[in-house]
């Protein structure tokens, strides 16, 4: 009986969480639609989210591409299929690794910071002060972050994938001595525009996941410094899990629109 109550409580808590996310996303998108966008704050957030995340995204993309290339080469070399390494790495980077790794890194770097900043504002009554000054907290805090995230994430995904493919080329051709012409020709043969579109779509969806979960955790923070710490942890965990779960469903759905291996 107690287990039933416990599981029921968890389920209700989850529904409540989803409801709060939906309301926050609805309010934010409605404000964006009505043009309640503060340009100065949005540009600041683009610098924070997009510009300052580049190093972590570049390093992640490059070393993932490099290590994936090395592992694929070690396996494919025994089958004399070294030139297949390029397209395998490129397609994996475009369709899965690029968007997911960028999402996870941005969730850790930016999502945590968003929750901590907004959470601190919540527990120190700064959000109440905004409301008392007739400023809507969603318009002031969430909209600039959402717009910046929707602009920055697809670009960061492209950067991550690009660095991954470049690193793959360097390791494959310069270090492991795969024939460069075949390496590139096979990438061109198997990678399509739809792979890039898939990458961008995933980046856009992950942007929404990160910004709404992180802002929600901040806006509902309570119990002082401990609560802010809890909100920050919850933000990173929930964003990461949601990205991984959403990625599976996105892959299945996008594969219907852009079927893989049809050429």
């Amino acid at each position: 009986m107690e287990v039933t109550f416990y599981l029921g409580g968890l389920f209700l808590g989850f529904l409540n969480f989803l409801g709060q996310l939906a309301v926050l996303a609805g309010e934010t998108l409605s404000s964006i639609g009505r043009g309640r966008i503060r340009m100065r704050l949005t540009l600041q957030q683009i610098a924070e989210i997009g510009f300052r995340s580049q190093l972590v995204v570049i390093v992640t993309g490059a070393f993932t591409g490099a290590v994936f290339t090395a592992q694929a080469y070690f396996q494919f070399a025994s089958l004399n299929m070294q030139t297949a390494v390029g397209p395998v790495v490129a397609l994996s980077m475009f369709r899965e690794l690029g968007p997911v790794l960028t999402g996870l890194m941005v969730a850790g770097r930016v999502g945590a910071a968003m929750s901590a900043e907004i959470g601190t504002m919540k527990v120190t009554q700064q959000i109440d002060a905004l409301r008392a000054l007739a400023v809507n907290p969603v318009d002031y805090l969430v909209v600039p972050r959402a717009v910046a995230m929707f602009i920055s994430m697809p670009l960061l995904v492209v950067e991550c994938v690009g660095c991954g493919v470049l690193a793959s080329y360097y390791v494959g051709v310069e270090v492991l001595r795969i024939n460069g012409v075949y390496f590139l020709a096979n990438i061109q043969k198997f990678a399509e525009g739809s792979d890039i579109v898939m990458s961008l779509v995933k980046g856009f969806v992950f942007a929404g996941i990160i910004v709404f979960i992180s802002c929600r955790e901040g806006l509902y923070a309570k119990d002082g410094a401990v609560g802010v710490g809890r909100a920050t942890t919850a933000s990173v965990v929930n964003c990461s899990l949601s990205i991984l779960i959403a990625n599976f469903f996105l892959t299945m759905a996008l594969n219907i629109v852009f079927p893989a291996g049809q050429r």
Binding site: M121, T124, Q125, Q126, D128, A129, A132, L133, A134
Partner: protein, 250 residues
Amino acid sequence: MNEPLIKVRDLVQRIGEQEILRGINLEVMPGETLVLLGKSGGGKSVFLRHLIGLMRPVSGSIIFEGLEITNLKERELEPVRRKVGMLFQDGALFDSLNVFDNVAFPLRERGEKNPKTVREKVAGSLAMVNMTGHERKMPVNLSGGMRKRVALARAIISPPDVLLYDEPTAGLDPIVSDSINRLIRRLQRQLNMTSVVVTHDLVSCNHVADRVALLDAGRIHFLGTPAELRDAQDAIVRDFVDGRSGETVY
């Protein structure tokens, strides 16, 4: 006789299982300074937050200038909030903005784009609270009293009709408290503001109040002038005024 600016009727609020406000009835007249006294944790700040729509009551009504505000949505409350300023207990300054930008914040949010006008109004507002020369400081580098003064400058830069003060002298030494009390009086004189001051500081109450209400057990137990409060014979009022806890020391 003037109509009350704010009418509160049978206001009830619960937090968890605890009933904080148990049917408050109170009227605030235009231009007066009403002080709400009560024990710490007795629901004074909770009551104040209802007056600006930061909390929604379980039941009861708040009528501001003839408009029932308890059922208004967040965006519908914005015109009311432009007429009501609030000084939070610790100032609630935006810690990412310096003093100048904190004070300029309401102006800029209300569409003032001319930097000269913003500079002049911020300077005027800071001068009124004796904080000239601290414009570039960040809130973290200010003392408690300075934070309250800056928060007050922010609250009055677009002069509201009503100003709500949440414990304006709490945690301050007697000298800084006195300067804050004088400031409240000066603002009332110069800007003809209606004020609601929540405090448990009787010195502050005697200094600024036109009328005093005592909140006890979630209800208004006493309402009168500061002189009537001092002379009251009611046991609860006397305990509060004389500072008696009623506990026995063994």
